[in-house]
Symmetry: C2
Subunit: 320 residues, 2 copies
């Protein structure tokens, strides 16, 4: 059965992949993006597709949101301020672009009678997890980043709307996502540094932070599968590979793929920035139990990301 998806953040990294996948599966897609960080070129294929309609609007404009959502039957809410690292420089940004924007999404859904929502949350809601690999029902965590706190606020509102108004939700807690159309994060930063100066690489923290990464195609595949197969009122899933690497491992793969051998320097400390989590590895047995397996390893994800950046160096300028 085909659906009419409303995809917020449709011109973003994950959003544009979700749009392409949904169109390939025969669904209708209404895409919403304010192009604050989204790239029109990521929608090149979608814009040529008869089942795709783009609304270049902001989620804080609630009349425009309501008009754009009309007729949809499942909202895939991926628009967000996804800048974890610089949260403390702009503490209002996560509140406005994540928490308040999500409230506008939910209110539009309520007004229009749209009953299904998928949401991109984050493994950052686990703070510095006491249990690793971290399951969805880990001990109630203490928040360590404004970004994580705002995503947790969104999760809470979504679940409460499901209870109050009979909606149904699929909440995905992502590790960091990699792959084609990747526009920020450590691979991007390291690639850009090494393009400018292949002899030196500056690393935040001590390089021993342990992280987990998932390829964007695996991420989108897991979301689609959960939407099809999970039928609770609130469906919560960690999304990641069942593995982790050190930042230094990733540095090695990037350097090998780029053919460079830089001298490394370190900002030092266990954490790359305030609120950085020195060890992220999510327990993904719940999504695996639905029959999902990632196709790409962390190393393959990093290497494909380097390949994409090499072929799309305009992005380094666009995001400078």
């Amino acid at each position: 059965m085909t659906a009419h998806f409303i995809v917020t953040g449709c011109a973003g990294f994950i959003g544009s992949h979700f749009v392409d996948r949904a169109l390939a599966l025969g669904h209708r897609v209404t895409g919403i993006d304010n192009f604050s960080t989204g790239q029109r070129s990521f929608l090149q294929a979608a814009l040529a597709h008869p089942n795709f309609h783009l609304h270049p609007i902001d989620l804080l404009d609630h009349d425009a949101v309501r008009a754009a959502f009309d007729g949809g039957d499942c909202v895939v809410h991926l628009a967000a301020n996804a800048d974890v690292r610089f949260g403390p420089d702009h503490p209002g940004r996560d509140l406005e672009q994540n928490t308040i924007a999500t409230f506008h999404v939910l209110e539009a859904m309520r007004a229009l009678g749209i009953r299904r929502i998928a949401f991109s949350s984050t493994g950052s809601v686990y703070g510095e997890a006491a249990v690793i690999p971290t399951p969805e029902d880990a001990p109630f965590p203490v928040q360590t980043s404004l970004y994580g706190a705002s995503k947790l606020a969104c999760e809470g509102m979504i679940a409460a709307y499901c209870e109050a108004y009979g909606m149904q939700s699929w909440i995905f807690r992502f590790v960091s996502i990699l792959g084609e159309r990747y526009t920020h994060g450590h691979v991007f930063d390291f690639y850009r540094q090494l393009q400018t100066d292949p002899h030196h690489l500056r690393i935040l923290g001590d390089g021993h932070q342990r992280k987990s990464y998932l390829h964007v195609q695996d991420c989108v595949g897991a979301m689609m599968l959960a939407l099809e197969r999970a039928g609770d009122r609130v469906n919560l899933f960690n999304l990641g590979v069942d593995d982790h690497c050190k930042v230094l491992d990733s540095v090695g793969w990037i350097c090998e793929a780029m053919g460079v051998q830089p001298t490394l320097s370190f900002s030092g400390g266990q954490r790359g920035w305030v609120g950085d989590n020195p060890f992220i590895h999510l327990d993904t047995r719940r999504i695996q139990a639905l029959g999902w397996q990632p196709a790409f390893s962390i190393r393959q994800g990093v290497e494909r990301t380097v390949g994409f950046l090499r072929a799309n160096e305009w992005l380094l300028e666009a995001r400078a």
Copy 2:
């Protein structure tokens, strides 16, 4: 050592008791209230005290908040929309009066360099808890009420501000609070019904919901003790008695105290309203380990509340 407390919601039920206790202990207190539900008469003693100053302002007015907070060294943030039951009728109210107001509080603290905050959260953040009595590190819950979700959003922001800006917080997850100056909740509703018609009492749900209650003096005492004795960056405490009762037990005590024998009727179902939690009993060993014990049982709390309402029937009108 005495402190200068900034108490938001100072004219409310818990806030006014906190003000009185702080003044009695020799502290300076700046009180803030927008009088949307606060009662000026609750501040009668405080207003006559030389160490108390009242600012009748709204927390959403950020210039006024910043001016009023200036010079304080610990914010006790109790102002909130505390109406759990009617959340679904006004979904924006919890977001605005809880989440966004708390953001304004935190931003004023950051601007002024105030580093300590105590916050009234709620046992509702545990949703329908999987573990009872529910400890602070219970399995990561799914939210079931807009009120709980907004308090969780506040908790997350507060913890993230502590991490990002070196603040320190004391977050209290309350059960329902009872006692003198009580202005809403089941005892209030039942008392008002029985004043109007002592022969009939309508009960939401089936009366078998199990709840826990704490007397306001015990609540304020626990907060003061935790502020003195708990020194982590984020200090999380459940506050409640180590017991629960059925709604029907409480009905019996209220009727006995009022000398009435009404016929009971029930709206039916396990839950009194959408998002109501049929079983609340918090594990309070963490606050007890600091040397705290409640002085009042649930029954004593209910009886003292009835006594207070009998002596203050003007409140039934004021809150009609």
